[in-house]
Symmetry: C2
Subunit: 206 residues, 2 copies
Amino acid sequence: MPGPRAAERICGRSLEEFFEEITRFHGHPAPGLVLGGFMVDWALELVRARSGERVEADAIVESRHCLPDAVQIFTPCTVGNGWLKVLDWDKFALCLYDKHALIGCRVWVDLEKARAFPRISDWYLQRVSKQDLPLEQILDAIVSAGRSVLSCRPVRVTRLHGPVKKKAMAICPGCGEAYPLAQGGRCLACQGGGYCIPMDDMGLPE
Amino acid sequence: MPGPRAAERICGRSLEEFFEEITRFHGHPAPGLVLGGFMVDWALELVRARSGERVEADAIVESRHCLPDAVQIFTPCTVGNGWLKVLDWDKFALCLYDKHALIGCRVWVDLEKARAFPRISDWYLQRVSKQDLPLEQILDAIVSAGRSVLSCRPVRVTRLHGPVKKKAMAICPGCGEAYPLAQGGRCLACQGGGYCIPMDDMGLPE
């Protein structure tokens, strides 16, 4: 964990608790997740300032890497409860919004601002190897920078909001399992999309 | 929480702890997540039996609903650390596998077996309204059934395993943010895929 700073709170936690929760859930204090925590912290503050402390905020993240965990650790939104949507865009940005008003805040890494923090921009743009930029130094830089490398903007959410409607289910004639009828006459795995092959109990292909 | 049963442990937890952790992370004890916990429990047991207690197991879930949270609560795999992959297939099945050997176990809801548990099959196939089948009754049935409504099979994983390689990044001329060069001359949002529109600070469209 980076050295102590002023008694700042992030997502309602002390810096120590913040790192502990990240490590417990994610397995290690990934720089992207620490930065993501600062993004969630800022977005939450702004959404609450607009819609009240008790706002029900849903989330969209624009990368599969790290950011989903920042939202899942520090807000009630998870992938499985549907309040968090994950876009596989590889953009380091997220949006928290009032799920009723559909108005919220998008926060992203601002490359212009990041110029003032060479360690962060080198890490972010993958300009330096892990050997040349040790984890501890990146984390120190991210904690020191906090919101200084981020920008935010109020937004109205136009897509991806709301619960995913339950679909009519059918039984796949291939595998005998339930699947959404709209996918066709067989489930996606039986249409050739499978990711695994069955084996016998000895671990040999059947 | 359903009434007490024999001193059974699920994913290493007492039934009470199991429900507490589900509720804390997911917000409520969703039937799909409780069932998902039993699926993770069985898959983990089998993967450990084959590859040892200290196996590093990665996960694939075949639905965005509930199942990702079962894996995220009861294993070290999360969406953000990449050890869990989520397929949007709406199939209630998951796979845990030894990430080095790529051999593991797929567990799914077996409709034949579920016939013996009408409450579970009615809920699972959406045959009954929430009014006619209260949450408490579904949860009771799921806890009573445990693995009896599931099947499992050893599998070799052929796709989706391993970390996602880092991509070469570029700076989008549209928004000035970093994005993967392979997506084209602009980022996906600037290509028209965006989900929100910017507003001014008063919450009015710009």
